[in-house]
Subunit: 542 residues, 2 copies
């Protein structure tokens, strides 16, 4: 097939007129030049236009450049969802530097580890986190420039650094001329995985992927021009699933929110005409529990994209009753957030709520930006049958995929083994092409040669009216190899014994899948709210 | 700024899990796998789903591969806007081959030239054009495989080739496994410019640009999921401005139309729930003249993107009265069609129709996919003042730009001189960043040191109720260097003398801009309906 005399390759090379590196930084230049007076940011009483926001980004980039920050340098941020956090998503990559947003719920030791591992040259933080960040700075080797956001909308905490964010901005030039990256493969962000075991791994994003996942989000969630986006998802989480860039690409409005409180969210949606927001099912549950009696809640179309866990039918129905359309997305830190969407099919309109919710609870199909998605045997890479039954590992490949893990070549090689990214999630593949995640591969229970999905067992446990939280893990068993063991927290005022829970399960699912043992205890969780199953397994060891 | 020890470049290279070549071919695979039963194509009574359409593309690609077509081979098409034309936009690039859609209105000699220059291995044609194509095949050196679409919805003409399109399809395998291009810079299409002088130039598109301009269109025209697109713009024109790919990317529906007839367009919009279509202002004018008395015409939101010439206020107002929203776009064959959009500003709602139309008649700002746009001195590349007065040449750079002209390195070098694409269009730049095209640079008149926009003079002439068509060109003048000369066609039954036209102009614009001479004659035009000003200038030579 090779064609050495291909005339289409002769004298038709790339040049600066017909090739430019893909980068999301251009989104803000376009928003500011085309819609300079459109509202870019709302934060409490604060309103800033795209012109003002862009100027602030230019000044920040200019000031940091004067202080020596440039290509390949790391700028860490420990910030809530405030306008400054948004600005960093443009100002830092303008310099070719790398933005490392950190989970604000982490402990000092982990933050210190990340500052050292990422070799942060600058840390931008906020009084709200001064206690933890102050300790982290004392523990780490790195001696970054520390910059405080001194937000008048928050009181408490201390200023840790040598100057404030506004002082830094004042050092900069609003006419700063930034250059797009010479190479779209250049790193743009560093995001540490929460790491249920061992040290967090540093996932490196590139400009090309950030650009393409932004467009993929716009297509997947149908973000219109001037979408109004509410920041309920932490921007530190996979760069807010790339929405800082995506919403800017449509010259939308970012509605910032420091604290997740149901009444503030409801007020922001109504007052600002919010059209889109994102959040884990647990956030939606919080909204439903706090929702006022008057429904629908909203008088304009609102879409919420949820991920991190499958949304139960009750949450889908509840949100729809509030007037909010639910989109289920799935992804990982390694995939810039959403890389699989449960695309809605018109035919599902005909189904009962229960049936429809079962369809929508599946993770779905590849996002527009991801090239390929499969459920396959992790060793042979052979795709599983699309029968909704056989489990395999979820694998992906495409442009919205990390460069790899920073300074961790063996972890990168493992993750990309065989030319596919191995998610570590086990799923079935349905006949309609939709995947449904059943378990983390390291959590699945193999009992008498059968795979048992712990998620499936947990789903049954959650249906028990007295159970508040439940997690299922494997326990060694001489006869079966492994058997399911449930750890359960009851709702306040409830009482229940182990046998009645086992009976409840046996009534609802195949007996080999039912817990053989039930333990009543509080569940250990990561900073992002995920149950730490390795800790549970340790706890249960004889 | 170079950082040789940049840790973000160490062990983080591209691999098949995190990099894939951008290509619009993946759009159809996704549409067919996610929405297999959704209607992809409507053509008269014919309906085909995405599954069926994708299978036909696979069979076509397979059949052509068996006949030796592969990377770098040219497949020419002389076809109307029928489903087969759409299929070619996916089947041909699946093979790494290059699709050369040809203007069906061209003469046999020009078609023959293009078949030879493009070295077409295959020609796919239709009985409607058998007369011209038959002659062209006799005139050219190239001996391509000739394939006829034998459309039951058209009678007349002859079958020219050795087999029909359906026979070719039957040779192919619907399970054909295509590979994305190894390099996204690979050529995908060849489009000849209409060429007002000399031989047409072959503009080469690449997969990356076709992918990115598709997404740019989706953003620029706000194409929602399952958009219903009516094919009023010829698919042979810059690959239908990339809409064959863009509409597929949103798993929309392509409504095909062999002939442009107002009543068929109206019927198709209503019957099929069309949401979007495109066309030159002349097409919109045809619709307005034929519109039924009952208005609004449509009972659902419809957007038309118009380009090729600025839409006059009367057309904007007329379309809005029909219930159709107008988007003005500007671009060239070299820029994959639309590369500048006149993005609507909410503040324009407050303006009078006349004022608003004046804003909307401007070409606008860079499309999301284009990196940079400027109006500049063509020699120094110095941008002109944004004062709406000083003229300069429109220049662009970015990814939605051709590779260059096929086998024409000097033309490519001229076009990309100084690292910018020179459009050859003269424009002013307004304070709000919107550009407004005033003339082709080779048509502008320089009289006594002043630039005169022939478009501006023509606009005044068109306001005269007795004038049907008008064109203005330069005529040599001993005193002024050049002076404007108008060539005018009157409406049937009208009578007018030269002096009254000159007086009409002097009443409405600066006197130095007014025609010094008026000639009554029919205007010579290209196959795409553009006035051939070089022919006019020859005609007027003393």
């Amino acid at each position: 097939m090779e064609n050495n005399n291909n005339p289409y390759n002769m004298g038709l090379a790339q040049n600066s007129a017909n090739f430019s590196a893909l980068s999301p930084v251009g989104f803000i230049e376009r928003a500011a030049s085309v819609y300079p007076e459109h509202t870019a940011v709302i934060y409490g009483d604060l309103r800033r236009s795209w012109r003002e926001t862009y100027e602030r980004c230019l000044r920040l980039a200019s000031a940091l450049q004067q202080r020596g920050i440039g290509e390949g340098d790391t700028v860490a941020a420990v910030l809530p969802n405030i306008p400054e956090m948004l600005e960093l998503h443009f100002a830092i990559p303008m310099l070719g530097a790398v933005l490392n947003t950190q989970n604000t719920r982490l402990d000092a030791e982990t933050i210190g580890f990340m500052l050292d591992h990422g070799q942060a040259q600058v840390v931008i933080t906020d009084r709200e986190f001064s206690d933890t960040v102050g300790k982290a700075l004392k523990m780490c080797q790195q001696q970054p420039l520390v910059v405080d956001v001194d937000d008048i909308q928050f009181s408490g905490g201390e200023l840790l650094g040598s100057l404030t964010y506004e002082q830094l901005l004042n050092e900069g030039d609003e006419h700063f001329s930034w250059q797009p990256p010479a190479d779209e493969w250049q790193a743009i962000a560093l995001n540490y995985t929460s790491g249920t075991t061992g040290n967090p791994k540093g996932v490196v994003y590139h400009h090309r992927g950030a650009y393409l996942n932004s467009l993929s989000n716009i297509l997947g969630q149908n973000l219109p021009p001037h979408a109004v986006y509410l920041w309920t998802l932490p921007m530190f989480h996979c760069n807010g699933w790339c929405y800082p860039w995506a919403v800017t690409a449509v010259a939308g409005t970012h509605v910032c929110l420091r604290h997740l409180q149901a009444e503030r969210i409801f007020a922001a949606i109504q007052t600002n005409g919010v059209t889109h927001f994102c959040g884990a099912p647990v956030v939606l549950n919080m909204l439903l529990n706090a929702a006022p009696q008057t429904r629908p809640l909203v008088d304009h179309p609102v879409t919420v994209t949820t991920g991190g866990a499958a949304p139960p039918a009750s949450i889908i129905a509840g949100m729809e009753a509030l007037g909010v359309q639910v989109v289920h997305a799935y992804g990982l830190t390694e995939t810039y957030g959403p890389s699989v969407f449960c695309c809605y099919q018109q035919a599902w309109d005909e189904l009962s709520l229960e049936q429809r919710a079962a369809k929508m609870a599946r993770q779905g199909v590849r996002a527009p930006g991801m090239a390929e998605l499969m459920v396959a045997d992790p060793l042979t890479l052979e795709p599983v049958a699309r029968d909704g039954t056989v489990m395999g590992e979820v694998m992906m490949r495409g442009n919205t995929m990390m460069k790899g893990y920073l300074r961790n070549p063996s972890a990168s090689a493992d993750a990309f083994s065989g030319g596919w990214f191995h998610t570590g999630d086990l799923a079935v593949w349905h006949a309609d092409g939709y995947i449904e995640v059943k378990d983390r591969s390291k959590d699945v229970i193999i009992s008498g040669g059968e795979n048992i999905s712990t998620i499936e067992v947990e789903d049954v446990l959650y249906r028990h009216p007295a159970i508040l939280e439940a997690a299922v893990v494997a326990q060694a068993d001489d006869h079966w190899g492994e058997v399911p063991c449930a750890v359960v927290t009851l709702k306040p005022g409830e009482a229940l014994d182990a046998q009645s829970i086992i009976d409840f399960c046996r009534d609802k699912m195949a007996h080999y899948k039912c817990p053989k043992r039930v333990v009543f205890a509080e569940l250990p969780k990561t900073s992002t709210g995920k149950v730490q199953k390795y800790a549970l397994r340790q706890m249960l060891q004889p």
